[in-house]
């Protein structure tokens, strides 16, 4: 009964086109944001920041980016790990070369660098489709990681190829380095995610988003009504890579602070982010967040539940955790192949009618 849109009239196309046309949704999201921005920083500690929330934010950002490419434009990519590496190394090079450059600008520039690289590796998509493209993007994954491992310039000629983030302040708050407070790093990453989540939503609900979806749903028809596949696909690669690059930058600067390319950005990253996209819901901004949340939180949850509550040995717990994760993925796919976003939608539809379904 609480969730009714009766009596809310749309007075123009403006309100009809807004992201949350239903008033209750707006309240809910405002409340949620208030908790995320105000309440969480008050109670956050190192564990929550480093093991739960930062991973969540960083992966949500990467998932958002990949969802633009896979979910909206229909181009499957397995190069995410490599593109995240580009973002990370770009921010490292920029921040060590220009120590006074604001970290926000560093990250945005890193995103731009990644976008350029993404466009380059997106070129084959003009000819190659489907799983062939997916496997072809692995070329980017392996090549980029090899490159950053091989060319010493990228890691400032240190002995091992490992990069470490120096401490940096933004608006007087220490954001990176070990002394940064969990609240500051969290808010910094959260800021990025809120802004770019909104930006993503704006892009996909406008002309460019429709262009991408047209290419995804029927590329030939799209071309016949004037969408240029070249522009559509490459812009999707660019925007997607920008997000992934910023995510890689955040991964390195605020979350990890030190990474080694062969491990931090290996192929598992690429798969992981793709799982998040699919399980969250292809072509859904909300789904990107839900997918990232599921795959970040579920293992921690299962682990803590088994180890701390049931007292299972750490190793057995790990095996069970992997198995359960697989079972859950299959289970959710069977229940709703279109991911959590669709489940959420169905739930909302039900709620809209509750408690009088007829």
């Amino acid at each position: 009964m609480l969730y009714r849109e009766a009596g809310q009239f749309k007075t123009g196309y403006n309100t009809d086109q807004s992201i949350f046309p239903i008033r209750q949704d707006r309240w809910a999201i405002a409340l949620f944001l208030a908790v995320a921005v105000v309440a969480v920083p008050l109670v956050i500690d190192d564990y929550w920041a480093k093991a739960v929330l930062l991973p969540l934010l960083v992966y949500a950002m990467a998932t958002l980016g990949l969802n633009i490419l896979v979910g909206y434009c229909g181009q499957i990519s397995l190069g995410t790990g490599g593109f995240m590496a580009v973002g990370a190394f770009a921010s490292y090079k920029l921040t060590t070369a220009f120590p006074d450059l604001n970290l926000i600008i560093v990250l945005l520039l890193s995103g731009c660098v990644t976008a350029a690289v993404g466009v380059l590796f997106g070129l084959p998509s003009l000819r190659i489709k489907g799983f062939y493209l997916a496997v072809a993007t692995l070329a980017a994954q392996f090549f980029l990681v090899w490159l950053f491992n091989k060319v010493e310039w990228f890691y400032n000629y240190n002995a091992t190829g490992q990069i470490t983030m120096p401490p940096r302040e933004v608006f007087g708050f220490l954001i990176t380095g070990p002394e940064a407070t969990p609240a500051a790093t969290y808010l910094f990453a959260l800021g990025f995610l809120i802004v770019f989540g909104l930006v993503a939503k704006n892009i996909v609900r406008g002309r460019v988003g429709r262009m991408w979806m047209a290419i995804r749903d029927m590329d030939i028809a799209a071309e016949l009504i004037g969408v240029r596949p070249l522009m559509a696909k490459l812009s999707a690669f660019a925007v997607s890579s920008f997000y992934v690059g910023v995510a890689g930058g955040l991964y390195f600067t605020v979350w990890f602070g030190a990474v080694e390319v062969t491990e931090a950005f290996d192929i598992n990253q690429s798969f992981q982010v793709l799982f998040m996209v699919i399980i969250g819901g292809l072509g859904s901004i909300l789904g990107s967040f839900l997918g990232a949340a599921f795959l970040v939180l579920m293992p921690i949850l299962l682990k803590n539940f088994m180890v701390n509550w049931l007292g299972v040995a750490a190793v057995t717990a790990k095996h069970v955790e992997i198995t359960l994760l697989g079972v859950l993925i299959i289970f959710f796919l069977i229940v709703e192949p279109h991911g959590f976003a669709r489940l959420w939608q169905i739930l909302k539809e039900k709620l809209r009618l509750w408690p009088f379904p007829y």
Partner: protein
């Protein structure tokens, strides 16, 4: 709706558990063990974790802990994955009265914890791995990497080679190949080997192998073509097994093929069978279960079904590695107790224990480890100990490793400047002012 609320409640509760645990009072010494019993490197992680756990449990069972304080080992599974390692670190650091020391085990996790643990003021004992320049205690206050670093390993292996060739001057013109895991870990020795190549006049051939390293055909075809006089290896996991097998297949003389101490366990040679006979590796401690402490472990743990692993695998190389790591750590804690006059030392006090750690031959004998390893002494500026290593050889018939050389000293004139340079670069990049040690 109800269902969702319950799930949410469980979710919050389960994630919140470590926080709740943090507030529980405890009089125990909390030692986290970042084990990796799953994932691609599990075969190596299992024996180490068992050795580590067994030694702590032995102290509890036999001595009632360290100076009366019981030890609580909190094992956390990392799967050798940095992300999970960080989760484990954050999860366990507040456990009990606070974690006393971390043994991160993976290179990635170590690099991760170097700044983090330093700021949290918890010592990190990356025993024979991790960042070599952490040897410089002036820059890396909280990191310890004794008894030897990779650079020490490189200099000792080259000394062994020189000795076989008939002296350092005989290295001139020789061809040495390095087969390495193409990662931070594998790249560690390259600079040292290059500096030595310049000084001693040997030629260095670099052959990287990408993770995971199941397919090394090209690498070994190059070895066949270049015919190096010696092959050194910085390998890890399946890469070791395949390399040993390939080397045997191309009939490279196994007694001229030397791995670092992470490329010299039973796991690495057993799959190759007889062909692995004669393979060499560096070692910082002895293999085998013939020491006093092993007898105690049998008596107090395995006979009472309290062992962490399988009985017949006690004494494997990596088991002993875990054991010696626990031993040095426990001695550091003991030292800390002595210095600060408490039986509940804090992590910061344990660090002082590490900086004043002295485990000489006599103490080793007292611990039931006579001849197990060499004596060490750690100081404020030197966190890497004496940096000695011996060479051990695999006997495929007996299925046993045997130490076949003396413990070589490192070449400080080679490693010293490199450590100085690398740690200075780190200090500069991270705005660290090296402390004074006087």
């Amino acid at each position: 709706m109800m269902f969702r609320k319950i799930t949410l409640a469980i979710a919050v509760a389960a994630i919140a558990v470590p926080m709740a645990a943090a507030t529980a009072p405890a009089a125990e010494l909390t030692i986290p063990s970042l084990a990796y019993r799953t994932g691609p490197y599990a075969p190596n992680g299992i024996p180490f974790a068992n050795g580590y756990a067994d030694y702590w449990n032995l102290l509890n069972e036999r001595d009632g802990g360290i100076e009366g304080s019981k030890i609580k080992v909190v094992e956390c599974e990392t799967a050798y994955n940095t992300k999970q390692g960080v989760e484990c670190y954050e999860n366990t650091k507040g456990e009990g009265a606070g974690a006393l020391v971390y043994q991160p085990l993976s290179t990635g996790i170590t690099y991760q914890l170097i700044p983090k643990a330093s700021s949290d003021q918890i010592p990190v004992f990356s025993m024979g791995y991790g960042r070599t320049s952490a040897a410089n205690g002036k820059v890396f206050d909280w990191i310890f990497n004794f008894p030897a670093t990779y650079w020490d390993g490189a200099t000792t292996i080259v000394q062994y080679i020189a000795e076989q060739e008939g002296g350092m001057d005989k290295l001139k013109g020789k061809k040495l190949a390095l087969v390495y895991h193409n990662s931070a870990y594998g790249k560690e020795p390259i600079r040292t080997l290059e500096v030595m190549a310049e000084k001693f006049g040997y030629n260095l051939l670099l052959l990287p192998v990408d993770h995971p390293g199941q397919e090394q055909k090209a690498t070994w075809l190059q070895v066949r073509k270049e015919r190096p006089d010696w092959v050194m290896m910085w390998g890890w996991g399946v890469m070791n097994q395949v390399a040993v097998k390939e080397a045997a297949s191309i009939r490279y003389p196994m007694d001229r093929f030397i791995g670092i101490w992470w490329s010299g366990s039973e796991n690495d040679v057993l799959p190759a069978g007889d062909a692995a006979n004669g393979y060499l590796s560096a070692a910082v401690h002895a293999p085998g279960a013939d020491f006093g402490v092993h007898k105690d472990i049998m008596k107090f743990l395995y006979d009472k079904d309290k062992g962490a692993g399988e009985r017949d695998r006690v004494g494997e190389v990596l088991y002993n590695r875990g054991l010696v790591a626990a031993m040095w750590t426990s001695e550091a804690i003991r030292t800390a107790m002595k210095i600060h006059g408490t039986n509940e030392p804090t992590a910061a006090q344990v660090r002082d224990g590490f900086e004043n750690l002295k485990v000489d031959e006599a103490r080793l004998a007292e611990l039931g480890l006579k001849g197990f390893t060499y004596g060490i002494e750690i100081s404020c500026e030197n966190h890497s100990g004496p940096g000695k290593a011996a060479i051990q050889q695999w006997d495929a018939k007996a299925k046993q490793w045997r130490i076949i050389s003396k413990y070589y000293d490192r070449l400080p004139e080679i490693t010293g400047p490199l450590i100085e340079e690398d740690s200075a670069a780190y200090a500069k990049e991270n705005n660290i002012t090296p402390r004074s040690c006087n």
